[in-house]
Amino acid sequence: MTDKPYIRLSKRMAVTVLLASLVPLYVFGMAIYWYLTNAQEEQQKESLRNLAVNQAKAIGLYLAERTSLVEVLVESASLEQLSREGELEKVLNLLNQRAKSFLDLGIIGANGYHVAYVGPYHLERLNYSESTWFLKTKVHGVYVSDVFLGYRGVPHFVVAVRKGHNPDSWILRATIDSDVFTQLVRSAQLSARGDAYIINQFGLYQTPPRFAGQILEPAGIQPQDLPVGRVTVRDRVTPDGRRVFSAFYWLEKEGWLLVVEEERASHGVAAGVVVAILALGSAIISGAVLFLLRLMIRQFEAQERRRAALDAQLAHSARLVSLGRMAAGVAHEINNPLAAIGELAGLVEDLMDEELVKASPNGELFRDNIIKIQQHVDRARGVTHRLLGFARRMEPHWDMVDINQVLKETYSFLEKEAMFRGVQVTLDLEAGLSLMKSDQAQLQQVFLNLLDNALDAVKSGGHVTIRSRRNGDGARVTFADDGPGVPPDCRDRIFDPFFTTKAPGEGSGLGLSISYSIMQKLGGDLRLLPDGGPGAVFEVNVSPAGE
């Protein structure tokens, strides 16, 4: 039974359904993933943007406030006042009162030397006339410096205000507390992986970054490209290899660039969720599809099997019908010659008197043969008359039958033939088998058929045994031969009509089929014993007919 077409079909269906259901699922999944991550990124960028702007304002304000303080101080006090002993210190404390923002305070004269100083460093003897901040302050009057090392060797930046003009000008310089400032700048930081710092127009850190890099080192950013007046958000890789979103905003007055950055959110979670959903979805869909397909295919196969069985049955029936019709036609054709033979031989027998028989050495043989010819015609008639079905006329004719007697008679029909063929027939009949109600003629036909088959099966020198035994109310008769037996692949066809293993012309294949039908009709059975060995063993069970 081939189920190859169904395998192909099921494969094709599986592929189609899976594609049709999984492809949209994946497309949808990826779309969601893309949307989520995109949305996430846009959100991040937007936050950074806002943060940068606000923070820049805060920082700008802070610096403006510090500068104002120094300016006010310069305007409100004279040089003499400020240079008095302890005065600067008082002022510094005052300035730092609310919030500590200044590290030191110093008055530097036009010549570049400190006039007064309060702070942690020893700077009194140092000259600043060459320093950038000094020169710039002299020019601009108010100046906020970039971060520089200066004499103290520590990164810092200053707010300086000039009072007066050359040669009487003096500068009040305040150093901003870097820690405080850095804190302020860093307050823009969004998360643990974020950072906020300032770089100057040359790209050098003005406040220390949290991760790689140090103050006054190059930050790896080209500030020149970045437009002034609005936030630029860029997706970049930091010198130490982190992928970040960076928001850049110029603090125009100071010429500083505020950088607020955030590491790009890992898409790990989103990816993980999407992958998990897709995997689960795929698994469920695939499972369902394959399960349903298998179910369906099994249905198909079962139906196919049923249909095939039905077809086989129908074909078998059709064969039987057509064979039956053919056989009927054949039977008719046979019956006429048979009738002629019977009558011709019968006439010879009628005319054969004792004188004729004695007149020739073969006389007995002639008479015997004539009689036998008619017996065979009878036998053939029996077969053709019962060929297909049974008519009203052919219903069993009940006698009280002596099985053993019937067997002996049957044997007598074929005795000569057996001798002629060199086959030894043994009758092993249980004595005293009671009479039983059955149809003698039809039983005889069955026995004749089986004995005939047995004789055909064995070659010269073979043996056939006919055995009868009581079997309850009935009898069991077996015909055993030591011929080749029935091949296993023929066993379940042996009672089929027209099944024969003989060469064409040697057997009609009807004998066993008819015998089988007869036994069924009489209420017994006929079977081939599976391991009677060495040859074939046929067993006839004769049951007495019921009332």
């Binding site: 019956n335 009738a339 019968g346 008359h385 079905g389 008519a391 006329r393």
Partner: protein, 129 residues
């Protein structure tokens, strides 16, 4: 007892001749013809008690003869012979509808035929009487 007069109608020559001879050997006055027409001719000239008629279906010859005999010689009983097996015969039963006494299937044992002939003769005599 009178000998029963029988006419056998069959186109199988061997069969016909043998049956007629065998009937004669058994004290039945039998004769044979080989066709329906011949049978009608014979019956026109001679008295017959029983006709044994081969139907040879599906040919029409036998049935036609049956009809003719029953029509023209209603006193003559007809026994129909056929080579068909019992099933077809029973299913058709044309012979019965057409008034034949009985039907026998070839090949037929001579004793059975004679039995049927005697029975037909009894019937015929019964009618006559």
């Amino acid at each position: 007892m009178d000998e029963i007069r029988v006419l056998v109608v069959d186109d199988e020559t061997d069969f016909l001749r043998s049956v007629v001879k065998r009937l004669n050997l058994r004290k039945i006055q039998a004769d044979g013809v080989e066709s329906g027409e011949a049978a009608m001719e014979y019956l026109a000239g001679r008295g017959v008690d029983v006709v044994v008629l081969d139907i040879k279906m599906p040919g029409r010859d036998g049935l036609w003869a049956l009809d003719e005999i029953r029509k023209k010689y209603p006193g003559v009983e007809v026994i129909v012979l056929t080579g068909h097996t019992a099933v077809e015969v029973d299913a058709d039963r044309a012979w019965s509808r057409r008034g034949a006494f009985d039907c026998l299937i070839k090949p037929v044992r001579i004793e059975a035929l004679i039995e049927k002939i005697r029975a037909a003769y009894e019937k015929q005599r019964g009618v006559k009487a």
